[in-house]
C-alpha cells in the first residue's frame, strides 16, 4: 500500500493500540454505570475510528453523539474560538458527558469545546483522548484519560490525517519529513 511508504516509522503498532483502547474502555467502565447513561461526544473527523473501537469495550448503557468544528482561519487559533459545523443532537443538560478525542495538541480547540459544553450544564464533563502531545500544550485542559503521550512528531493513522490522507492506517505512524515538506 502506497500510503505506508510515506511513514518513516510505526510509533504505536496496531496490537499495542488495540490493547490500550481496551484498557481505556475498562477505565470508563469503572467511571460510569447504567444509571449514569453517559453520552460519548466524538469530535469529527479524527476520533471516529477511536470511538468505534472504544465503544466495543463499554459495558454500561451509553449513547454516542457527534460534533464537527472548524477554525475561523489563520490567526484565530489562540482564541480557540471555532465554528460549530455540527452540533450535538442531544441536549446534555443533566447528562454525564465524555468527550472522545483522537489527539490533544495545543489544546485550544478542546478547551473551547469544553467551555461551550459546560455552559449547557451537564452533570459531569470528562475527556478521553487517545493521544496527547504534552510538549505542544499552550493551554491547560484537564484530560481524564489519555491513551498515549507522544513526542512532537507528525503522527498519522487511526483517524489522524495529513491533508486528509493516512486516516485509515490501523496503527499510529510518523510521517516522513519529505512528505509534508514537499507540500510547504
Amino acid at each position: 500500500m502506497g500510503l505506508r511508504d510515506d511513514v518513516a516509522k510505526v510509533l504505536i503498532p496496531e496490537e499495542t493500540l488495540q490493547a490500550r483502547v481496551a484498557e481505556l474502555g475498562r477505565a470508563i467502565n469503572g467511571m460510569y454505570d447504567d444509571t449514569d447513561r453517559p453520552l460519548l461526544v466524538c469530535v469529527l473527523k479524527g476520533a471516529f475510528m477511536f470511538l468505534a473501537d472504544l465503544t466495543r469495550h463499554l459495558e454500561m448503557r451509553h449513547e454516542v453523539d457527534f460534533m464537527e468544528v472548524s477554525s475561523y482561519g489563520a490567526g484565530t487559533e489562540s482564541s480557540g474560538v471555532v465554528r460549530i459545523l455540527l452540533d450535538l443532537e442531544q441536549n446534555i443538560k443533566g447528562r454525564h458527558v465524555l468527550i472522545v478525542e483522537d489527539i490533544i495538541d495545543a489544546g485550544y480547540t478542546l478547551d473551547y469545546v469544553t467551555r461551550n459544553l459546560r455552559t449547557r450544564r451537564p452533570t459531569s464533563l470528562r475527556i478521553c483522548s487517545l493521544l496527547s502531545k504534552p510538549s505542544r500544550r499552550e493551554i491547560d485542559v484537564p484530560v481524564d484519560l489519555v491513551g498515549f503521550e507522544v513526542p512532537d512528531e507528525f503522527v498519522v493513522g487511526y483517524g489522524l490525517d495529513y491533508a486528509e490522507e493516512y486516516r485509515n492506517l490501523p496503527f499510529i505512524g510518523v510521517l516522513k519529513e519529505e512528505v509534508y515538506q514537499a507540500a510547504e
Binding site: M1, F48, L51, T55, F66, L86, E89, E164, R167
Partner: protein, 181 residues
C-alpha cells in the same frame, strides 16, 4: 460480551460481520485500484462503526467525509422528506464518491443522497450498504456493495440504534417486540 435482555437473538455475530466487511473492502479496493480521488461519505450517526472498519481494510488511498441528515417527521415511519443537517466538508466534484450507509430500509434517505451527490458532478457515484431490508423498500435505489440482506425485523448494534440505544453493540441483534411496541 453479554447480550442485553432487550435483544431477542443475535442475527449477525462479530466474526460474521468482520468477515463480510473484509470481503467488501477487498472488492472495493479492486474496483478502485486505478481511480484517484476516492472519498467515502459516511452517513451519521449509524455508519461510523462500519466506516471505521471498512476504511481500515481498504488497500486504496481515500479520504473520509461525513454527512448528517434527519427526517422531517420524527418517529419510526418516514414520509421520505429528508433534511440535511451537515454537508460534506470537501467538494465532491470530480471525485469518486462512495456513500457508506449502515442500513437501507425504505430507500428514501439513500435516494436523497444519490440525487444530491449526482447533481454535484462527481467522477463516479456508488453506494455501499451494510444491511438491507428489501421488504421495506418504498423507492428503488442504486446499491453497488451490500453486506447482508435481512428480514423485516428491528435490528440494533454495529451502528444501528433504537432511540439511540444499543448502537455500539459489536454484533447485530434483533430487538424484542415488546421493547418498541
Amino acid at each position: 460480551m453479554s447480550v442485553p435482555n432487550a435483544i431477542e437473538r443475535v442475527l449477525l455475530d462479530e466474526e460474521t460481520i468482520a468477515a463480510r466487511v473484509r470481503e467488501l473492502a477487498a472488492q472495493i479496493s479492486a474496483d478502485y485500484a486505478d481511480s484517484d480521488g476516492l472519498v467515502l461519505v459516511g452517513v451519521l450517526k449509524g455508519a461510523f462503526i462500519f466506516m471505521a472498519d471498512l476504511a481500515r481494510r481498504l488497500q486504496v488511498a481515500h479520504h473520509v467525509d461525513f454527512i448528517a441528515l434527519s427526517s422531517y417527521n420524527r418517529g419510526t415511519t418516514s414520509t421520505g422528506a429528508v433534511r440535511l443537517i451537515m454537508d460534506t466538508r470537501a467538494s465532491v466534484a470530480g471525485r469518486h464518491v462512495l456513500v457508506i450507509e449502515d442500513i437501507l430500509d425504505t430507500g428514501y434517505t439513500l435516494d436523497y443522497l444519490v440525487r444530491t451527490f449526482r447533481a454535484r458532478n462527481p467522477a463516479s457515484l456508488r453506494t455501499c450498504i451494510l444491511i438491507s431490508k428489501p421488504e421495506r423498500r418504498q423507492v428503488e435505489v442504486q446499491v453497488d456493495y451490500l453486506g447482508f440482506e435481512i428480514p423485516n425485523e428491528w435490528v440494533v448494534g454495529y451502528g444501528l440504534d433504537y432511540a439511540d440505544r444499543f448502537r455500539t453493540l459489536p454484533y447485530i441483534g434483533v430487538l424484542k417486540r415488546e421493547v418498541y411496541k
